[in-house]
């Protein structure tokens, strides 16, 4: 097990190098130039050369890449090309925190609906509630974000006046309602199904039957044994979905004007803000690998049958 973890961790820097190299080359060899974007209509070869020189963009490709990686390894992510004077690290951390809050709110909705629903329909196996719940969850999940966000906004802000129409106020602000719903609802279907399967698994196990035979009440068995045991495999995938939610929220963020990392990532591509693009790629890839590893390890602990070489 430990060997496996160490192996995977050793692979991480290599993976980051590969991912960052792809992004770096696409940026440098593709069309578009951050200095031109910066200068816009003021473009003039001389000024551009001066700024390129200051930003180190006139050096050889590999030297730039090497320097970047070297600085990155030391925790220096550079300065944004677009947000002049702002360190990329601070920018990315702030935006990630916003997205993390959103992800948490969305998670609360997915879990809050998905887990009880899955648990409930596992006890109704074969009856109409079982397929109906999953179908309803799938129906909701299939609504494209570009439709659900404006529709919710129209309902909550213009018709009901529950929430202000402006973008973002933090985790405990009513404005989080619309993005949390749009991002949380698609997760319900998957969680319901998982919870259902997991509950059925537990229900079929010996110790539950034993508990029943001992005459312990249905409610107690359910709450003390079934629910808790059914949760275990779910927990392992949470870290993973959280990582996905952070990067996958950019449309919601864009439509609603939420200053999260998803929107920031897309903007940085259009601005050719190389330091930001690189930082997001590296952080995203790193988070992905770690979440993957975490999930693997958690699985191994839960299910001793799984072995990693």
């Amino acid at each position: 097990m430990w060997v496996y973890i160490v192996k995977r961790l050793l692979w991480l820097p290599l993976l980051l190098l590969a991912a960052s190299f792809i992004t770096f080359s696409l940026g440098r060899f593709g069309p578009g130039d951050p200095v031109r974007v910066m200068l816009g209509n003021r473009y003039d070869e001389q000024t551009a050369q001066r700024i390129r020189h200051e930003l180190g963009l006139d050096r050889p490709f590999l030297a730039q890449y090497g320097d970047y990686i070297w600085n990155f390894a030391q925790g220096d992510f550079g300065e944004s090309f677009r947000y002049r004077g702002q360190p990329v690290r601070d920018l990315v951390i702030r935006k990630m925190w916003v997205s993390a809050q959103l992800a948490i709110a969305a998670m609360v909705i997915s879990l809050g609906v998905g887990l009880p629903l899955g648990f409930f329909i596992a006890h109704r196996q074969g009856r109409w509630e079982d397929p109906a719940s999953v179908t309803v969850a799938l129906v909701l999940m299939s609504v494209p974000v570009m439709v659900s966000v404006p529709a919710l906004l129209w309902t909550f802000c213009l018709k009901l006046h529950w929430v202000p129409c402006s973008g973002w106020g933090g985790l405990f602000d009513p404005r989080i309602l619309v993005p949390a719903i749009t991002m949380g609802v698609p997760g319900i279907a998957g969680l319901t199904r998982l919870m259902r399967a997991s509950t059925l698994d537990v229900l079929g196990q010996d110790f539950i039957r034993t508990a029943h035979s001992k005459g312990i009440g249905q409610m107690t068995v359910n709450s003390r044994h079934v629910f808790r045991n059914a949760l275990i495999p779910i927990v392992t995938i949470l870290a993973f979905s959280l990582a996905g939610l952070i990067s996958g929220a950019f449309i919601t963020e864009t439509i609603l004007g939420i200053p999260g990392i998803g929107r920031f990532a897309v903007e940085s591509v259009f601005d050719r803000d190389y330091p930001v693009i690189m930082a997001i790629t590296l952080i995203g890839a790193g988070a992905f690998v770690l979440a993957n590893l975490l999930a693997d390890v958690a699985y191994a602990f839960i299910d001793p049958r799984i072995r990693y070489q």
Partner: protein
């Protein structure tokens, strides 16, 4: 056991899995929801593919007498008039028929997602998965590590980078090619090149999931007795892969394709929403959703959002529900 018996046993195993598939399909046919999904998919897909013949108008035709008109039906001019004079889904600011535009938008989505799934998901994904799973060791490690690099890019970030940076250059190049060879005339105009770029972008991250899945299946299957028997029997690698391993991995592939198609549709819409997909004047669901999603438009002309919105929703929903039904039928563990 003699060689003969072994061979028979191997064939029986394969037969059995085919029988299993047939039975599963029969079960699927009994599921009403799956049938509904398949029928609606067939309808949507043919509507999209045959948009040129079905659509009552030209997708660029502008009519200033019917600007921003809500859905309307002409009932007094017979069936022909009903079809060609009505605006089933209303019109937009330039007086273009939304029903027509949505049909053409569906065509883009349908073609793109099919192409991307066939090339990326099925061809690349399945074959790499097979190879990785069968040969194992270094080959497996290499393919899976590459997959991990691609998969580790934050979601559709890579897609956007590719579409934003490479598309203009590929288009220039394709135009130059087209101007040189008469034969290729019109490729750019009808959007083939756009299709190509968008599907590359979709394929870029689409193959990994499939490859992983197939690899896992193969890793499991190749340890089973009958494959070992087939190998001991001197069957060629190609034969083992195509006759024995692949058929047994079909079920999970089918489920993944079905669910994956929903995701592909969603991604294609996001790309065109961002302006990185099929270019105007060809309509696409993403750009239509962009226009219709403005809060002031919803207030005054809700059909601008609802028409493309419902189309996109139905398309994704049908695939998701079908995937769910297939999962129930083909995947015995969760049944």
């Amino acid at each position: 056991m003699g060689v003969r018996e072994l061979e028979a046993e191997v064939d029986r195993q394969t037969q059995r899995s085919r029988g299993h598939l047939a039975r599963a399909l029969a079960r699927l046919a009994r599921k009403k929801i799956a049938v509904v999904c398949m029928v609606s998919l067939a309808v949507i897909y043919s509507a999209g593919i045959f948009a040129a013949w079905i659509a009552p108008y030209d997708y660029t035709a502008q009519d200033y007498t019917v600007i921003r008109k809500p859905p309307s039906y002409v009932l007094d001019q017979g069936i022909g008039g009903f079809w060609t004079e009505s605006h089933f889904a209303g019109t937009d600011r330039a007086g273009r028929d939304l029903f027509t535009r949505v049909l053409w938008g569906i065509q883009n989505t349908v073609i793109l997602t099919l192409v991307a799934m066939l090339t990326g998901g099925i061809m690349i994904g399945v074959s790499l998965g097979l190879v990785a799973g069968y040969y194992g060791k270094r080959v497996d490690g290499f393919i899976m590590r590459i997959g991990e690099v691609f998969a580790s890019f934050p979601d559709i970030f890579l897609v956007i980078i590719i579409a934003a940076t490479l598309r203009p250059r590929i288009l220039d190049w394709a135009r130059a090619l087209e101007d040189r060879f008469d034969l290729l005339d019109g490729l750019v105009r009808i959007g083939i090149v756009d299709y190509f770029v968008v599907s590359i972008a979709l394929v870029g991250f689409g193959w990994i999931g499939m490859a992983r899945l197939v690899r896992g299946q193969i890793l499991y299957l190749k340890e089973t007795q009958y494959i070992e028997a087939a190998r001991a029997n001197g069957a060629s690698t190609a034969r083992i892969l195509s006759r024995h391993l692949l058929p047994n991995a079909i079920a999970p592939i089918v489920i993944t394709v079905s669910i994956g198609m929903g995701a592909y549709v969603g991604t294609e819409i996001i790309l065109s929403w961002l302006g990185l997909g099929i270019q105007p004047p060809r309509p696409s669901l993403g750009t239509m959703l962009l226009e219709g999603g403005h809060i002031s438009v919803i207030r005054e002309e809700p059909w601008m959002l609802l028409t493309p919105g419902i189309a996109a929703w139905l398309l994704i929903l049908a695939w998701n529900l079908l995937g769910d039904a297939l999962n129930d039928v083909l995947n015995p563990r969760t049944r």
